[in-house]
């Protein structure tokens, strides 16, 4: 089913005249993870808001064994699945946070925690687990993120790669080696995106990750598979709003049970506090 036939269709839906009332979702984030202050963002680097406290409540615990993420997973934004065979579309995303940068909303498909910054052999992600994606199962458009959870890894700079299955179902693909460990690549709540092997456009599964050398401290890091939904720019004042009809090319579908999460690429070192707001419409 097409998202919207025309602008009148969108307005009608937004003002309650469609087949279902629109969902306007509010997420408040405070600069705390669990019982402690969150790590300050670093300019140019990505910060995960996955474990940030706020409303809805997020306990801040590190993820454990590999698992599919859904709208019921701790940290996910509230979501009501569409009914009647309809689809759900994100038609706007807005935020007011404490600093400039970019805000990414993504569907967090799968995650694992408890990986070590001192192990230099392949660490299992999905390998042998039997856990497979339940959304975006072709893998097209999915990306791999490494997330440092609540305990930083070590100060020795090294690299990390992942072994994965791509969007064509070809196993044994290897991401480009990227830095991990040392300043800016070790702190809690940091995200390190893993570039895919040449020619690949997505990820069906991540089998293992491997550090080239120890970072010196085990810490706690993990891997997640993300499907980007939308991103917006946050100005110098930390505010941004974009609609996806007259702004970027089109509204993006949000699948049933989506685990909507947020990541922030900092242009500021201000601790992240504020509000995120997005609108979903059924069609």
């Amino acid at each position: 089913m097409a998202a919207f036939t025309d602008f009148s269709d969108l307005i009608n839906n937004a003002t309650g005249g469609g087949l279902a009332l629109p969902q306007t979702t509010w997420v408040q984030k405070v600069g705390r993870v669990g019982a402690a202050a969150a790590q300050a963002p670093i300019v140019g680097f990505w910060t995960s808001l996955w474990t940030y406290a706020g409303t809805p409540g997020v306990g801040g615990a590190n993820p454990g064994a590999v698992a599919v993420c859904t709208s019921a997973t701790s940290g996910a934004a509230p979501l009501t699945n569409p009914g009647g065979g309809r689809q759900l579309w994100m038609v706007s995303l807005a935020a007011s946070l404490t600093g400039a940068g970019s805000l990414l909303c993504y569907d967090r498909l799968l995650q694992i925690g408890g990986l070590s910054g001192t192990v230099t052999t392949a660490q299992s992600v999905q390998s042998g687990s039997g856990v497979i994606l339940t959304r975006y199962t072709t893998g097209v458009g999915n990306q791999i993120g490494v997330e440092i959870y609540n305990t930083a890894i070590g100060t020795t700079l090294t690299t990390i790669t992942a072994s994965y299955t791509n969007q064509a179902g070809t196993a044994g693909r290897t991401t480009v080696a990227v830095s991990i460990g040392s300043t800016n690549f070790r702190e809690a709540q940091r995200i390190i995106w893993l570039p895919l092997q040449d020619g690949d456009t997505g990820v069906r599964s991540v089998e293992t990750v491997t550090l080239a050398a120890t970072t010196g401290t085990a810490g706690n890091f993990g891997v997640f598979i993300a499907h980007p939904i939308k991103s917006i720019s946050l100005g110098f004042d930390g505010a941004g709003r974009e609609d996806f009809l007259t702004g970027t090319p089109a509204p993006e579908e949000v699948l049933s049970n989506a685990c909507l999460a947020f990541a922030y690429q900092a242009a500021s070192t201000n601790a992240i506090n504020g509000v995120i707001n997005f609108c979903l419409q059924e069609r």
Partner: protein
């Protein structure tokens, strides 16, 4: 049905059923991790005060931005456009957004120099709107200046499912740039909770050094008014707005500014206009 066509929307923009124009004087700006409540600022709706104990708020509560005639049964008012002039913000990292809430319940009488569970004037008054508590946020609003010693605060509350004894995550209270009246401290909820139905007690981990006066505010966000830095902005469905939130009859509209970076500021009035259309859905 809603506003069925673009032509009807344009007509509604030209002649909204209700126009709420507001100016609030911004006399203080919080910093770091506190929001700023404009409840106690002067301006349209009057200067809101701390409640004597705890109360359910409505559009007649002193400090509420506006009152309006309720639409006839079966009809609703929906926000279809707004204008904002954010001249009130000017921290080192200036702000340009405010959130309009429905201030459901407020409370006062807690002090910031006690490190045991406080139940003065608690539990909070029963919600008269959003009665499940789903989507209801909890804040601490400072009415009388608290101390300069930084500590943390938690609340014991009943969540959106009616489960009592929930405990919020610790949130910073007291300390530099967090002591003055109008500080609005967002309270992060226990894992899995999506809202607050009532608050039963407040506990500081340690004294901030000064008693002051603070209390709980339970509120549901209604609209996020973004602007552009240093300039006024008009937003409607042709220019970035994709939701048309329904305005609840008797809502106590209240403006608050999300956290700003920086530690110095100047202040000025902030003005905004809310344009609403009447629809039957």
């Amino acid at each position: 049905m809603g506003i069925a066509t673009l032509a009807a929307y344009r007509a509604a923009l030209s002649a909204p059923h209700q126009i709420i124009s507001c100016v609030r004087t911004v006399s203080y700006l919080a910093s770091v991790d506190s929001w700023t409540s404009l409840w106690q600022s002067g301006g349209t709706g009057g200067v809101g005060a701390a409640p004597a104990t705890t109360r359910a708020c409505n559009s007649s509560t002193l400090g509420a931005i506006a009152q309006w005639p309720a639409p006839t049964a079966g009809n609703y008012l929906r926000l279809i456009s707004y204008q904002i002039v954010p001249c009130g913000f000017n921290r080192t990292n200036t702000g340009s957004s405010i959130v309009i809430f429905d201030r459901l319940v407020d409370h006062a009488g807690a002090v910031a120099n006690v490190a045991t569970a406080q139940t003065t004037n608690l539990p909070t008054a029963a919600l008269t709107r959003e009665t499940t508590g789903d989507g209801v946020w909890a804040f601490i609003e400072v009415y009388g200046a608290i101390g300069a010693t930084t500590t943390t605060v938690t609340i014991s509350y009943t969540n959106q499912a009616g489960v009592a004894g929930r405990t919020s995550l610790a949130q910073t209270i007291g300390g530099s740039f967090r002591t003055a009246a109008q500080n609005l401290i967002p309270i992060p909820l226990q894992d899995g909770d999506t809202g607050v139905r009532s608050v039963e007690s407040i506990t500081l981990a340690a004294t901030t050094g000064t008693a002051g006066n603070f209390g709980i505010v339970l509120a549901k966000p209604w609209a996020l008014l973004n602007s552009k830095l240093h300039q006024g902005w008009s937003v409607d469905m042709l220019r970035g707005m994709r939701e048309a939130p329904r305005l609840t009859d008797s809502a106590c509209l209240w403006a608050a500014a999300p956290s700003l970076g920086g530690t110095t500021f100047t202040t000025a009035p902030i003005g905004f206009t809310l344009n609403l259309a009447r629809v039957d859905s």
